[in-house]
Amino acid sequence: MNIQEYIQGGAIESYVLGLADEEDIAELQRLRIEHPEIAAAVEAAENRLLERARAQAVPAPTRIRTNLLQMIKTEPAEPASPPSIHRLRALNRYKALAAASVLLLVTSLVYNYYLHRNYIQAVAEYTLISNPSVLKVPLLGVAGKENAGATLYWDATDKFVYLDAVRLPKAPAGKQYQLWALVDGKPVDAGLLENISGIRRLKSVQKAQAFAITLEKTGGSPTPTLSEMVVLGNVRS
């Protein structure tokens, strides 16, 4: 198929505006994985939608905000901690992903660096988060560190943990973040975080009730410095 024709042909706008039917949606979901240009065009169309809506915003009546604030006060909210685990959906796209990975290796030199890097990242993340045997554990900022956060993915088949730590502040010089698995009340080292962006794989963890990240000296510590804990998340099955 001609990728440019698809991008120019209105299918992406139809999808973004919510006018596409299931067949159109399935086609677009497949194509955006196979073709980074299409993925980028979908993203651009979504950004245009938001920009246009912002440009044409109309102030909402103030009563609505008041009503909603009242509503969320009375509505039973889940406790902020421990966070729940969202069992991720199976998307049955492994074949497409495998094909996409091969395609990527072959054609990687052709794509410009920015697009390519994001695409690799997106495919890796997509593979991980769409795997039904992977549990997602949100790690939330502890008191005083509310703006910090990370997401941990735990693969039930090989027990490896993956961490997406984009919302951790940069570790100061001489310091490094360390992930801990809390196993029956005892912290067990689950790996050190390098200063790289995106999802990275850490150690294999057989069993844990919770995960936490502390700031330690470079190279890590045998036991966590609890006063330097940044984020924490419980595992619930």
């Binding site: 120019q8 042909g9 209105g10 299918a11 706008e13 139809s14 999808y15 973004v16 505006l17 919510g18 006018l19 596409a20 039917d21 159109d24 949606i25 979901q29 979908v42 979504e46 245009r48 939608l49 938001l50 246009r52 809506a53 912002r54 044409q56 915003a57 109309v58 102030p59 909402a60 009546p61 009563r63 609505i64 905000r65 009503n67 909603l68 604030l69 509503m71 969320i72 006060k73 509505e75 909210a77 889940e78 902020a80 966070p83 729940s84 969202h86 959906r89 998307l91 997509y126 988060i129 769409s130 949100p138 939330l140 703006n147 956060g149 997401t151 984009v166 919302r167």
Partner: protein, 180 residues
Amino acid sequence: MKDPGLYSEEQLIQRLRQHDAAAFVYLYDNYADSLNGVILTIINDRSLAGDILQEVFIKIWRHIDQYDASRGRLFTWMHNVARNAAIDVTRRKEWQRTRSNNPLTADHDRLADNPLPSGIDPDLRTSVSVLKEEHKVLVDMSYFQGYTQAEIATMLGIPLGTVKTRLRAALTQLRKLITT
């Protein structure tokens, strides 16, 4: 908690899934006016649009788990929730009865003496009104009235493939009109 960019999109979604009230207020403060504008393109009645906006945010609060990040950005989903909520109201009997007093969807643009209602998206309206008739009808029926492409095919007695081709052509044209 109003600083723009306080949360990354992913973090915001994560906190909404945990029913974090501060994240919800942040979401409201950042997107309510935009979604209000979206609703007003379909329901040109500020008071009613406000009620719909409230329903939309209640739905977001209660059903954030229905949002699927693999399908698109959070705003794209919210935009659809808002559009669908507005369309649902246009289908109510009470609304249909008052419709003669409240210009509603793009088909009114075809009435020569009916000016564009104020307060609604002038770009989209103006753009839609210059489309070819066969294209305008499709944007109107799908975007503004919420019919599926299959329903439109049945209603207009044309093949589904033709509906898709024409709708896509119309959207391509709209994109060009709006972005240039």
